[in-house]
Amino acid sequence: MSEAAAHPAVHQHTAPTGFIRKYVFSVDHKIIGLQYYGLALVAVFVGMVLSWLMRIHLGWATFAIPGLHLLSSTGAPGNVMTPEYYLSLMTMHGTIMVFFVLTNAPFSGFGNYFLPIQVGAPDMAFPRMNMMSFWVTLVAFLVLMASFFVSDGPTIAGWTVYAPLSAVGKDAGPGLAMGQNLWAVAIAIFCVGQLLGSLNFIATTLDLRTKGMSLLRLPFSTWAWFITSVIGLLAFAVLLPACVLLILDRTAGTSFFIPGGLVVSDHLQPHTGGSPLLWQHLFWFFGHPEVYIAILPAIGIVSHILPAFMRKPLLGPRVIVGCMVAIGFLSYMVWGHHMFVSGMNPFSALLFSVPTLIITIPATIATLLWIGSVYGAKLRFTSASLFCLGFISVFISGGISGFFLAQPSIDTYLHATYFVVAHFHFVMAVAAIFAIFAGTYFWMPKMIGRMMNETLGQIHFWITFVGVYCIFMPMHYLGLAGNVRRYAAFTDDFLVPLIPVHQFITIAALVTGAAQFIFLFNLIWTRFRGPKAPDNPWNATSLEWSTTSPPPFDNFGGRQLVVHHEAYEYGVAGSAGDYVMQTSPEVVKPQ
């Protein structure tokens, strides 16, 4: 023990006192994780409300939404949003959801909370840099939100802010003066926060594993967070300069993305020599790995939770890790599939299409391994495990539409239609949200020491599950029928007959959205009235269940854990019980 005492812990000081040091400017990774999660909760609520406003307008274009003029008097005169304001709301919906929900919650939120614990460390490798990365992310969010309150409103250029629309400045329309500047600055700041976070995750995973925790004994969630942070390190490194170049085009008169001779709103733009395609290349070079940054932690979380409720490990665990690595690697080779109709070299389109089809292979292998594992297992249905099954379902649904979009010939027709909207919502948005829900139901007892209400959780699941299918399945039909995306209203002859479908989707969206308040209520109720959670309510094996709920300041109460087993020893033949915790000294002879 004297060696352990001589070993200086990452925290040489005792637990902080005072509200500010404990809960606001905290260097404790658990508090920082909760702060990220809280930010994501606020962001998802804002993003969801934006989607309601969009959906109501799409179903009923002339409907006056009460109070909308308070949000923007120019964007919604008489409470009916202008087409430009619809685009503003749509842009903010996408930006907030992709960056501040899907990158935040499963990666920065749960990852910050559980990665150090799952490797057996008392904290992240760089606690103060960790705190800085949260506050940088929060500043980014606030800068982005500020664009709602500038006179012109948020940018209308979509979350992908394609040039030259995003680059020429206020001539191009409302939201493209200050709103676009704020977007670019906010996202640039976000890149910095993510970079700092990635450094922490990588250093912690590699350097702070406790004795016996070899890399192969890491839980799937830790592997996923580690791989995601490597992807993020390289992807955000390209988005940052892209945003800087965009800001220069907008404010300093450069022409990186603006060609010559462009006449916008009857004004000849002074720029010359640039290329809008260059923006697309730079953006999607980041943008495609970004969607895998959104989904890989979800894959890790679902893979981590399922064994606890099946009471047996997943089939092919090393293969699943290999699939995650393969997805991470291939994610850098496919970005051009967002640009099939951009005027990009069509031979390049082939070079992008092939890896896009190849990347479906590791995703499919992982899916088959989940299904194969669940089949024949006596899966216990809880809120957490139901959302895991829901994840698999929507991941498959969204993945299948990907096969079509991966081929340039088909994508030429389907690009920028609702088919694409259906695809990415299923495979990325809904799938990752389901994993966030699963993670919440699974880990909330550990995080705040109280059990969530199971009944409410299952009601939440069923309404949400049916609801998302009602919302996004019809969008495939809409896309095939030629329904263009990013339109504020449908007045063309071939689109008007599709409006009833939009109205159905809107109603489904509102009902599904309302069901999320069950989840919110459950969270609040749990915090104040939930029954106390034991240390290991799920009889699970990984290191987070070896400590109290919630864990103490240094995670393990000064103990230096020793790991003896792999991460998912459930139903082990020859073992005394139905599961063997990673820290258990029990020696199990292989049968």
Binding site: H7, A9, L195, D207, L233, A237, F256, L282, F285
Partner: protein
């Protein structure tokens, strides 16, 4: 990052923890990862420059040997020498010679500041000739100014950041608030800044020599 955090990571692999696959302190590993990320950032900017240059048939090549290329050569010499003094600082720090290490750190800081000063003077000279982010006094593509000031500006920001860090570490090392690992970690960053210049000088200066 303070001493207690570094100490913890130095001792990784000793009592009670698994050894890192790289056997280096976490601060060093993080700096290598940061360098990798920053290298990708500079690559993106350089690729954008190459893309725009190839796409601009009216590209200008304004750099005469005197003053531009010669100035660039001297700046290269200054930066390379600062790399050498940085090495001397790291060697002295690792050998426990605090005073010598501090002196070499200050020397590196001074050379970095000299580089930055020369660079700013060069910028002033070019601006006086009529070059801007959006303007080309020779009548060719305006992308030249955009690319030149953007790339060299990004590099200059990194140099200035390094100069500030060198000053902070030099002061702190002298007061024994920072140790040899801190110096070494900063050294990796400083050498990276030098490394980027090894691409900027040929691609931005020599490729545009007339």
């Amino acid at each position: 990052m303070d001493v207690s955090e570094l100490d913890a990571t130095i001792h990784a692999g000793h009592a009670g923890m698994e050894e890192s696959p790289y056997g280096i302190p976490s601060g060093k590993l993080a700096m290598w990862c940061f360098v990798l990320s920053d290298a990708v950032t500079f690559s993106a900017v350089l690729f954008a420059y190459g893309y725009l240059r190839i796409g601009s048939p009216d590209w200008s090549t304004p750099f005469t040997f005197v003053p531009s290329v010669l100035n660039g050569l001297v700046m290269t010499f200054v930066l390379l020498t600062s790399g050498l003094t940085m090495l001397a600082a790291v060697e002295a720090a690792k050998a426990g010679r605090t005073a010598a290490g501090t002196r070499w750190l200050w020397a590196t800081c001074a050379l970095g500041a000299l580089f930055a000063g020369m660079h700013l003077m060069e910028w002033r000279h070019m601006i006086e000739e009529g070059w801007r982010l959006f303007q080309n006094p020779l009548g060719g593509s305006v992308e030249f100014g955009a690319a030149f000031f953007c790339i060299t500006g990004l590099h200059l920001l990194h140099v200035l950041g390094g100069v500030c860090a060198l000053a902070v570490i030099a002061l702190g090392f002298h007061r024994q608030r920072y140790n040899s690992i801190d110096v070494e970690v900063l050294g990796i960053y400083w050498h990276f800044v030098d490394l980027v210049w090894m691409f900027v000088f040929p691609l931005v200066y020599l490729m545009n020599a007339r």
